[in-house]
């Protein structure tokens, strides 16, 4: 499949080559100072994040196959882009995900059972962003590209409130929005960039180019490398090797800081790959070859980072303990998934409006009485 013509990684920022050796590209130069701030403990944390995210993702896909979930959109292969960028955000930053950013949710502190609940069909949101323990990680948006405008409007508000560009990076806020290569074709995403540039929002557009929008290759969405579109909007833009967690971290950290210090919106295109199916309902054998997928499996972000850590002298014990932690985590997710209760009738009516609404009161009452008369209750 002709999928490479517009995604040449020649200028993409890379810190680690695919075998895990430190070999920054020339384009990485402006970002190196951010790497110097990282300790061994940070590196181990990145590794742990990626392994846990993959264990979670694999477990969730299994749960879907066993009929526990309606659907699962896997993040397999995108952990480097997600963990690096997620860890680069500061605690005061606000994150607008699409629907595949499980690893970002993890590093922001969200209990990922919430994502399972959404995909199981017990809730539309799964977690409450107003709870500070959820790291300002907003609920998923399933309509492609819509969240880009929300992020931009939110960032306009941050700016109007004076909560950014005061000169203090410890408190100045920035906003980061995640979206895919397919989403770049939507009006909403393009309009978001227009508004962001116009109002000079403190915002990073984080585009994960995983090369596919379900069955449609990125070449159908764009004939030029996607990051180049940013400059047309007047937005500083950069392309990175998204399977290099260090590149993702350093580049995102710098551009978030640029955004929070008054530099306006920024665009990062992370080249990565959707190793799995689009969702568990999808059959990729209909539209792409295994050879192509294999060529990306060979660039796995976790394998690469493990090689880096080993090169740095990390002991076997680290990898063993992370593997054990991931197994425990997955089995905990499984156990808790089986324990998720079905929602009550009230969920359908109580949260539709913020203020009282006569139809909600009337219809909820009607349904409760009807169900009671049937002798049922909620199924």
């Amino acid at each position: 499949m002709a999928e490479t013509e517009n995604t040449s990684p020649a200028t993409a920022v890379q810190i680690l080559s695919t075998d895990g050796t430190v070999a920054p590209t020339a384009s990485a130069e402006p970002y190196l100072e951010y790497l110097n701030r990282l300790t061994d403990a940070d590196h181990e944390q990145f590794y742990r994040d990626m392994v846990l995210a993959r264990a979670f993702d694999t477990e969730a896909a299994n749960l879907q196959r066993q009929g526990q979930l309606a659907l699962w959109p896997p993040c397999h292969g995108q952990e480097g882009a997600q963990v690096g960028s997620g860890r680069a955000a500061r605690s005061q930053d606000h994150i607008f995900p699409s629907y595949r950013e499980h690893a970002v949710g993890l590093v922001r502190g969200v209990d990922l059972l919430g994502i399972i609940e959404v995909m199981r069909g017990t809730t539309h949101s799964g977690w409450d962003v107003s709870d500070p323990s959820n790291g300002n990680f907003r609920p998923y948006t399933l309509v492609i590209g819509a969240q880009a405008l929300h992020a931009t409007g939110f960032a306009m508000g941050v700016k109007f409130d004076g909560d950014t560009a005061t000169g203090n990076p410890e408190t100045d806020q920035a906003v980061m929005v995640y979206f895919g290569d397919g989403a770049t074709s939507q009006g909403d995403v393009n309009e978001a960039m227009v508004f962001a540039a116009s109002y000079q929002t403190p915002e990073v557009f984080f585009l994960q180019n995983n090369h596919w929008a379900i069955s449609v290759p990125v070449t159908t969405q764009s004939r030029t490398p996607l990051f180049q579109r940013g400059s047309g909007f007047g937005i500083p833009s950069v392309q990175i090797d998204g399977n290099d967690v260090l590149a993702s971290y350093a580049v995102t950290a710098k551009h978030l800081d640029d955004a929070r210090s008054g530099g306006g919106p920024q665009l990062i295109e992370a080249l990565t790959y959707r190793i799995g199916a689009h969702t568990t309902s999808d059959d990729p054998t209909k539209y792409r070859t295994q050879e192509l997928t294999d060529s990306w499996i060979a660039r796995d972000p976790i394998v690469r980072f493990e090689a880096f850590l080993r090169g740095q002298g990390a002991a076997n014990a680290l990898f063993e303990s992370v593997a054990a932690e991931a197994r425990d985590y997955a089995s905990d997710v499984r156990k808790r998934t089986h324990a998720i209760a079905d929602p009550e009738i009230g969920l359908m009516f109580d949260g539709v409006y913020s203020d009282d609404h006569p139809l909600m009161i009337e219809q909820k009452q009607w349904l409760e009485q009807y169900e009671a008369a049937l002798g049922g209750g909620a199924e």
Binding site: G187, I214, S215, T220, D282, K286
Partner: protein, 332 residues
């Protein structure tokens, strides 16, 4: 369907009937083309267009960029150029980015051009619930489009209707919103390849009865038939009307039925507030007032966003909810 010339009755699911109908339309007219997300190589997420790109090529079956406004807006331009585009919207809840192009452009262009411009565009929308999916994948948005002047809106309930109505929709010189009840994609039914059962906008009595009339479109028709079956066991005789078209609505068969039974229950998956059912209730009250023994009753989805899948059985009207309304109507 060259292999079926002497075999006019075939059993197939609606998904295959739609595919066969579109294949026929494409074979008949080189200006018919299909466009949408994932409809080419993948054959669409519901496989409705399976095999058509391989058969007709990439200029007849377009895997478009991911943009509904783009799909509809370029279909409008293609129609201006003499094509007959058939657009697939991947799921009901994803039609809204294209809403502006549908309602402000597609629906109005013939009028803007004082009738001199035709807009033969079909927009296929897999819609409705019963599939246990996440948000935006189970909605019934048909009232927005039925409300919009300039659009025609239809919804088949059987494979036979699907096969013929998609061809009639493509042949229409006006834009047609073609609502496909996705929960009915896979049950098989008999398709009569020898000729269309009815005109595109005709409603049809699908079960005879005497005590009350039930009317619906799309997937809800099968729920009504189930309800009528259950009621028959209790000695209640229900007539069922399949609307088939929600804009325009063919009222005569419905009114005739109501004049006979004196009672009408309108059912729909969509929320009831300002819905297709509301329109039918009002019109029947206007035109058959003296025949009515009871108020026209509506059985609808609640006036809430389609809930998480685990609540869909409570949201969607089932045969019991229909029969509860029948009981109320009969109590008058």
């Amino acid at each position: 369907m060259s292999d079926s010339i002497d075999k006019t009755l075939q059993s197939m699911p609606m998904a295959k009937a739609l595919n066969a109908g579109m294949r026929q339309a494409m074979a008949n007219d080189p200006k018919v083309l299909l466009m949408g997300e994932d409809i080419g190589k993948l054959g669409g997420v519901f496989r409705i267009t399976e095999g058509l790109q391989a058969e007709f090529g990439e200029n007849r079956v377009l895997d478009t960029p991911l943009a509904e406004s783009g799909i509809i807006g370029t279909a409008v331009g293609l129609a201006m150029r003499g094509y007959r585009p058939v657009c697939e919207i991947q799921f009901d809840g994803f039609i809204y980015p294209g809403f502006n192009q549908i309602t402000s452009q597609l629906a109005k262009l013939t009028n803007r051009n004082e009738g001199s411009l035709q807009m033969p565009v079909v927009i296929r929308v897999p819609y409705g619930g019963h599939i246990g999916a996440v948000e935006h994948h189970q909605e019934s948005p048909e009232a927005y489009f039925a409300h919009t002047a300039g659009l025609r809106s239809v919804s088949p309930s059987t494979p036979n209707d699907a096969y013929w109505m998609i061809q009639e929709a493509i042949a229409s010189n006006d834009p047609v919103m073609f609502f496909e009840p996705k929960s009915r994609y896979w049950p098989k039914g008999e398709v009569d390849l020898s000729g269309p059962a009815a005109p595109l906008h005709a409603s049809r009595i699908v079960r005879l009865g005497t005590d009350a009339t039930l009317v619906a479109h799309g997937a809800m028709v099968s729920v009504l038939l189930q309800a009528a079956e259950l009621a028959a066991a209790d000695g209640i005789s229900l007539e069922v009307v399949d609307l088939r078209s929600i804009s325009p609505i063919d009222y005569e068969p419905l009114l005739e039925s109501v004049r006979k039974t004196g009672r009408l229950i309108v059912a729909q998956e969509a929320s009831g507030n300002v819905s297709v059912g509301s329109e039918i209730a009002a019109t029947v009250a206007e035109r058959a007032f003296y025949s009515l023994e009871a108020p026209v009753l509506r059985v609808s989805g609640f006036d809430v966003p389609f809930p998480p899948a685990k609540l869909e059985k409570l949201f969607l009207p089932d045969a019991d909810r229909v029969l509860e309304a029948v009981d109320r109507a009969l109590a008058y």
